[in-house]
Assembly symmetry: C2
Homo-oligomer: 413 residues x 2
């Protein structure tokens, strides 16, 4: 290996308009370039406490245990599932896309007894459908996805908390793709656990996963407590319940690290924490609701533009996430060729899809730092150019006009 073949990093410019990751806010990238701190430096633990407070704001929760898991969004999911599910526990997963399957997959690795209900991709569940399944299955946990980017659908969650309390079910949602761009009310909706990711509406790089835990689920986790040898003292007592089958994802240990005892566990990923702090700070500075409105504004402008281009959209638009749109690849058009031309000639990335939708839809995101008018207009214009180049006919100017009209109409509100 010749080291001179590896120059300084220099990624090409890209406008990331897929289902995420999207471009990070430059202020977030800058926050990551600050020098490190020791993990027990008072300045560091102060930043950790600030991150807890800021994410309570983002999750709309008073939960004491609101913190970061050092890994990508599925690390947050797995930490919650491994810590809450004991082998043999019954869980219910309403599956409406690929990430519902992921919850099943992770729950099976936790040796749960996994039960599912399914709707066709492009739809969501009614509360009644979920309540019926809960009555039938009697699960210990309900595992939901709030926004499944594979189908672009947003599962309504507001009514599910009451149902879960009625049947004594712990209520979790994976808000990786939805948080910050769609309403999520952790406390008002009586969620027991929520996990998120940075690279979607939160506007940062993937690599750390914010989670929040209700007292109810913390109690379950505390009953599985084990403190590792080497740092264990005589004052530490084991919990009465079965241990958690992971050290890295043991939320009890992670709480002890974020809490006043500051028991050594992992070495907090300082740069990722700095980035997560800046993401939350920028979101709350804008106002969480203002940010959600912004996601809806630009998501709708994209939708109107795409429709006026003569393209069909995917799924039930009443339940579409604000931040991503499924666009049906028209007959006679090679979807991958379009993505390649978009990337190579316009430096714009749009997404493909998974499983049953693979090769059938593109997914276009408007989220985080890229939930902006210029991103929407640039993407629509480039996509129309590429489609025209490939002989797909559109009405000249109609798509752009529809987007402009939407912006004007919203401006008058």
């Amino acid at each position: 290996m010749e080291i001179s073949q590896f120059p300084q990093i220099n990624p090409p410019h890209r406008l990331l308009m897929g289902p995420g990751p999207v471009n990070a806010d430059p202020r977030v990238l800058r926050a990551m370039s600050y020098q490190l701190l020791g993990q027990y430096d008072p300045a560091m633990t102060h930043y950790m406490n600030e991150v807890m407070a800021l994410y309570r704001g983002v999750f709309r929760s008073q939960n004491r245990w609101t913190m970061l898991i050092d890994g990508t969004s599925r690390a947050g999911i797995e930490a919650i599932l491994l810590s809450a599910i004991r082998p043999g526990d019954k869980v219910l997963v309403p599956v409406f896309g690929r990430f519902g399957h992921l919850l099943c997959e992770i729950a099976r690795r936790c040796r749960a007894d996994v039960h599912t209900i399914e709707v066709p991709w492009g739809e969501v569940f009614t509360p009644d459908q979920i309540e019926d399944a809960i009555k039938r299955v009697r699960p210990r946990l309900l595992l939901t996805v709030q926004g499944d980017t594979s189908t672009t659908m947003l599962q309504p969650l507001a009514a599910l908390g009451d149902i879960c309390r009625r049947y004594d079910v712990l209520f979790y949602t994976d808000a990786t793709a939805s948080l910050g761009g769609n309403t999520l009310e952790t406390d008002a909706w009586q969620l027991d656990a929520v996990s998120a990711g940075m690279q979607k509406c939160l506007g940062g790089p993937s690599g750390t996963s914010p989670v929040t835990l209700s007292e109810r689920i913390v109690d379950v986790i505390r009953h599985r407590r084990r403190v590792e040898e080497g740092i264990r003292t005589e004052a530490h007592r084991d919990g009465s319940d079965e241990m958690i089958y992971s050290n890295y994802f043991d939320l009890g240990m992670i709480m002890d690290y974020w809490g006043p005892e500051r028991l050594n566990h992992h070495t907090e990923a300082t740069s990722a924490l700095f980035s997560a702090r800046e993401c939350a700070r920028l979101i709350l500075q804008e106002g969480l609701d203002n940010g959600i409105t912004r996601h809806k504004l630009h998501g709708d402008a994209l939708l109107h533009g795409i429709q006026a281009m003569g393209l069909e959209t995917f799924g039930d638009l009443k339940h579409k996430m604000n931040n991503v749109l499924g666009v049906v690849i028209p007959q006679g058009i090679n979807g991958e060729q379009v993505r390649k031309l978009m990337l190579e000639d316009f430096a714009i990335e749009i997404g493909t899809s998974f499983g049953p939708l693979h090769g059938k839809i593109w997914r276009i995101g408007t989220m985080g730092y890229n939930a902006r008018k210029d991103c929407v207009m640039t993407t629509l214009s480039a996509l129309e150019s590429v489609l025209n180049y490939l002989k797909f006919p559109t009405t000249q100017g109609a798509a752009m006009q529809a987007a402009w009209d939407h912006y004007c109409a919203m401006d008058r509100h």
Copy 2:
């Protein structure tokens, strides 16, 4: 919560001379501030391939499967242990400090049958001691720590590969604290798996963990293969062995993501990958052996200075890691008061210790970007000032002169 109480990030200046994290190389911090790429962008997958090649150089290995685990160093440990250990498998852990206990702890969470041998903290094992234990226990895996910062000891590993082959044992080492600052020869020593962390000798922020896997251990992992629903196709076959009880740490899936199939798993932590790439690039640019020599030079200069200050060191100096020194806290001196004065008045962090050594030794690191003459001289000078201030007598100028003498002597070589 009033968002104006959360200003832009502005960590205080610190010189981090503890057992890690240490200050990151500014070029590494800069690499993290680059804009993101989509995870299947050819520019991104090219960087992933480059990272594999660069870490082959750092690990001194031809192993194809050399990649990053998205989490801190213990994520790398846990990914290897969870993927290689089946419930009930016998493992042998030679424990010579806190991080040996951590391997036991993680192995127990994998439901291994854990056997240990121990030496007092401050010592290491002879190959014979380990061979005897292997003969007695007949483990499937030998789990070792190369450098245990809790005791500052470096376990010699060169002779263990042959022993492991002889008894058909898989050979793993945790090189979190040692890699880059001490010799590690993955292939020559016949290691089957090694994991590392960024925040020690590699000079980056914690948050991603480089690992390398031999063909022998890859074969074990491949027999446990499962591909998740939602991206599984008819061409995918399950392995014949028991599944891995984690999705996030399933090295089979992680290989499929880093390999030519690029099967979707997590969303690679792009900024962490950029930082890891820059760390390896800088190490190989300096020359891995030159970097190790540099760690030894500055580690020894610190040692000579500390001894000339009239302080005792901890543990068997023949087996000390190059990059960290245990210093016995002298009678009548409050160790925490010294650390506080160092931090508050000199902005220098030195470390405390764990378990039986808590309150008994300080740990002073010279590693990564901080394996530098100015760091050593500044730290010695500040420590002497603080000790004098607290009425601990030293011979004026002796510590600094001893360090200078060592640098001069080495310069003449």
